[in-house]
Amino acid sequence: MKCLVTGGNVKVLGKAVHSLSRIGDELYLDPLEDGLSLRTVNSSRSAYACFLFAPLFFQHYQAATPGQDLLRCKILMKSFLSVFRSLAMLEKTVEKCCISLNGQSSRLVVQLHCKFGVRKTHNLSFQDCESLQAIFDPASCPHMLRAPARVLGEAVLPFPPALAEVTLGVGRGHRVILRSYHEEEADSTVKAMVTEVCLGEEDFQQLQAQEGVAITFCLKEFRGLLSFAESANLNLSIHFDAPGRPAIFTIKDSLLDGHFVLATLSETDSYSQDLGSLERHRPVPQLQAHSTPHPDDFASDDIDSYMIAMETTIGNEGSRVLPSISLSPGPQPPQSPGPHSEEEDEAEPSTVPGTPPPKKFRSLFFGSILAPVGSPQGPSPVLAEDSEGEG
């Protein structure tokens, strides 16, 4: 793989890497015929991010040397980010950036051609890996809204930078409401300040959602995409479904597109009813106290048993297979919307009424995880097609 980025696009690439670094610790580089894909997922699998840079984004783009297979690799986010750490420096001094990966060398080479003849070469070690693919389909989400990133950026300003989660919903009169979300604490002597921002329908280019719907997701992760979209002056679309189903954030322009898929908190039905009260400025009443483990506590969750390893590393790094799961040999499902949405629907048992699912961020990709823990398992869902060799 060999590609050359020049001029202002170097900074755009750098910004994208910064965005991705807000999500995960490993960057998956996947040179496709459609362009270069940069992907990452967070450790608890509750957030996935992907940028696809079209061939036209590059001055020169070669996905694979002719006659060779497409190579893909994953590298430490920290290492890749260090090349692009100073955006100001990228803008001021870097003229060209050349990224190359060849089968023989064991290094991903990133070369920055700077002013005054200075050339900085970074040799980053990588691991071969299978493709990181999340199963999601914006078209299957019943609700969506689209606004210039700037509008959303301004809307998010009143929230403290440290705020972890935010609830996005549609209130009466189709007003879009963002509210800070705080987990209910057992020892609630010191209450946190609750901030709510209310936007009119007119601020949105498209708003397709019923009044009363709401989702809660990680603001910090969302900010990663938002800052990129603001700097590129793009519109940001949010596709969402019921609480608990992943929310899909997308941006697009002629040269690139980005998708961030974030898990949302699943709530009881009463939550969405209470949204009617948002306009009356009553905070959403706290649900019955459920334990709300930090997303990173996922590792010990039973739900992990539904997960399928997303990638296996060649050379036996130790695949991330969790005990009792059916292993799919390196899932690489094609991104056609049809079959997947069906699979997700099949595999999704309906929530047992009257049993509030615990408030947790669900692992995204293996979609169908709305069944309360401990419910009888249906036939083990096939969540990813068997890979039929590299694309």
Binding site: V151, E154, A155, L157, P158, P160, V190, K191, A192, M193, V194, T195, E196, V197, C198, L199, G200, E201, E202, D203, H281, R282, P283, P285, Q286
Partner: protein, 280 residues
């Protein structure tokens, strides 16, 4: 108890925001006292505050276009609320370019001071940001601890130098010693001194001027060059100075020898009094 107030003037809003930022730097938690004519931010000299106390007062009609309150009772027509100062300053920060700001005492699932900001937006629709600041209503029986502190007759009263300069001096001194001596005389001289085993550092400020003394007898007895001094914790002084982002309209320092230093500032029309006790 009821309280609702509104600010529509941009300059008033900015001023109120600056005051709130200052309070947030001076006290993590403070008491807000609401009375028909005034708003006070109060820090009383509990052990938890290290003996430091603060009394900030503003006339409500200088800020609010609407102001309605109903206190605890007709005889005690006041409201005392405890809140985290940073919450208020953060809420007001949103209001930088707002059309209007409303503050109300509300009782959503817990008692709050709700700050509602109407923002300008490109489109015709209004954009509203609301902050619910959790508060604790202070019971009537504790009000007596939250009254305006008595200012004892100072030994020396002197105008302060530019606070920014004072702050940068004290900041450097903090690295050398944890306590400092502040001394001044009636001849317009103020010194900041620190002393350790290895080194003594003194910064002299001259020609500061002294306000006319309240009590005649003190001025006659006192040699104008004689310094009144007090040992204080340097961090408390630094915290006070760090809170003054803008140079005040008037800044006065009153020293009661070996007892305390009292800072009396005026930021336009808002008065701030800050008391730092002497180290025992």
């Amino acid at each position: 108890m009821k309280f609702r107030a509104k600010i529509v003037d941009g300059a008033c809003l900015n001023h109120f925001t600056r005051i709130s930022n200052m309070i947030a730097k001076l006290a993590k938690t403070c008491t807000l006292r609401i009375s028909p004519d005034k708003l006070n931010f109060i820090l009383c000299d509990k052990l938890a505050n290290g003996g430091v106390s603060m009394w900030c007062e503003l006339e409500q009609e200088n800020f609010f276009s609407e102001f309605q309150m109903e206190g605890f009772s007709a005889e005690n027509n006041e409201i005392y609320l405890e809140l985290t100062s940073e919450n208020l300053s953060r809420a007001l920060k949103t209001a930088q370019n707002a059309r209007a700001l409303k503050i109300k005492l509300t009782n959503k699932h817990f008692p709050c001071l709700t700050v509602s900001v109407e923002l300008f937006s490109m489109s015709n629709s209004s954009r509203i940001a609301t902050h619910d600041i959790p508060i604790k209503v202070i019971p009537r029986k504790l009000w007596k601890d939250l009254q305006e502190p008595m200012v004892p007759d100072p030994d020396v009263s002197i105008y302060l130098p530019v606070l920014k300069t004072m702050k940068s001096v004290v900041e450097k001194m903090k690295n050398i010693s944890s306590h400092l001596v502040i001394e001044a005389n009636l001849d317009g001289e103020l010194n900041l001194k620190i002393e350790t085993e290895l080194v003594c550092v003194t910064t002299h400020f001259k020609d500061l001027g002294n306000p006319p003394l309240a009590s005649e007898s003190t001025s006659q007895d006192r040699n104008p060059e004689h310094m009144a001094e007090v040992h204080i914790d340097i961090r408390k002084l630094l915290q006070f100075l760090a809170g003054q982002q803008v140079n005040p309209t008037k800044a006065l320092c009153n020293i009661v020898t070996n007892k305390m230093v009292h800072f009396d500032l005026l930021h336009e029309d808002v008065s701030l009094q800050y008391f730092i006790p002497a180290l025992s």
